[in-house]
Subunit: 210 residues, 2 copies
DNA sequence: TGAAATATAGCTGTTTACAGCTATATAAGA
DNA sequence: TCTTATATAGCTGTAAACAGCTATATTTCA
């Protein structure tokens, strides 16, 4: 019996990238490249009928973006390994891909060897990142939210707000006057530069305050 | 010149775990164990005066928890490597540690070799997970939020709400009656089982709808 | 010790959110 | 095609949020 090579697909809106990756990966003869797509809408029906072992997935795509597509892929075919392959270096985007079930993230600047190594690691079920991504994740730049520091009481109240507690309810819970709670609310809104609770919770989430 | 061994600290509220780890790690003579702590409050002042290369950090701790402590550690000493060492297997907790700058996550069930391997990888600047954690992260269980599916319009309005737009403002932006926007709001609240916007944005964030 | 930050409490408006209904036109799916 | 889902619009209350102020006790820290 022939050892079957893992099936690989590429989703990237730059035809040049697809071209380059195709030549590169085929030269190694380690993978069975069964499809290239420039958008997610074309890839989804393909995935529904063809078993794909691993997908190299760009983040920026026309229509449905790579992050949502990743989630979709893992829903349709949980065994399919998704390896993000993108120029984007924002921490939040990397985390989002992981949250959506990606097995790793390779920066397009990475060397060929680095990419091949990451594909290999991912195929072996391990989560893997190219060097630059690794550094971004571990060298956490956690300075700016020190500027908007909340007090203990404010943090406490913020968490209660996030859980849906109203001002009168919080006042009861903490044995405070509703005026006190209202003042804390105002201070929290001001500190985080939010116009209302909705924006407040968004910002608090982004800053990891919850 | 003697090759200095990396300094290692342990923060875990179970003395037995500390005891076990200490014996185990010392036997290998690869690390210089310079401190063990049963809570974060004791560890922080220590870190401020002693250089620590790597910390094995539990999630559940009395007082400040491991996730917040991780952020604090990376703020005080960005070069210090944090390796989470916990019994907790929830996806959200693992992600939170990564968001706060951890270099990896090892389940307490992991074998000794697995732990040593992860410590080694982390010391080499790589992000690393024990086998079980790896599987949890890649085998994304993304079913349940398919039950609470929002329509295009609802998603659009939800995002605007998250950005702090009020009902009258959204109505203007989308050329709709304020009543229409209000109805969409009600439907969104109901679908996501939220009592008010605060809880709504929290839930939406948890489900990755934003 | 003295200044600054924090936590507390109060008042008065206006605006927005939310609950509870009804109702219709259109689009999508079985 | 016909039912269901979606998007639209309306009304009436009440509750909550928010803006803009003042004021004081307590804590924290330099």
């Amino acid at each position: 019996m022939l050892p079957s090579k893992p099936t690989l697909a590429i989703v990237d809106d730059h035809p040049i990238i697809i071209e380059g990756l195709t030549k590169l990966l085929m030269k190694k003869e380690k993978f069975d490249l069964i499809g290239s797509f420039t958008n997610g809408e074309d890839f989804i029906p393909f995935l529904q009928t063809n078993p794909v072992k691993i997908v190299l997935l760009d983040i920026v795509l026309p229509g449905i973006d790579g992050m949502d597509l990743c989630k979709e892929i893992k829903n349709i075919s949980p065994a399919t390994i998704v390896l993000a392959f993108s120029n984007h270096q924002e921490r939040s985007g990397i985390m989002k891909m992981l949250e959506n079930g990606a097995s790793g993230y390779v920066l397009k600047d990475a060397s060929i060897d680095e990419l091949l190594l990451c594909i290999d690691e991912a195929l072996n079920g391990r989560i893997t990142f190219s060097k630059a991504i690794n550094d971004i994740l571990t060298q956490a730049q956690l300075k700016e939210n020190r500027l908007t520091r909340l007090t203990k009481r404010e943090t406490e109240i913020l968490k209660l707000i996030a859980h849906g507690a109203t001002t009168p309810h919080i006042a009861e819970l903490l044995f405070l006057s509703k005026f006190t709670v209202e003042n804390h609310r105002k201070n929290i809104l001001q500190k985080l530069k939010a116009k209302n609770v909705a924006e407040l919770i968004s910002i608090a989430n982004q800053q990891g305050l919850l």
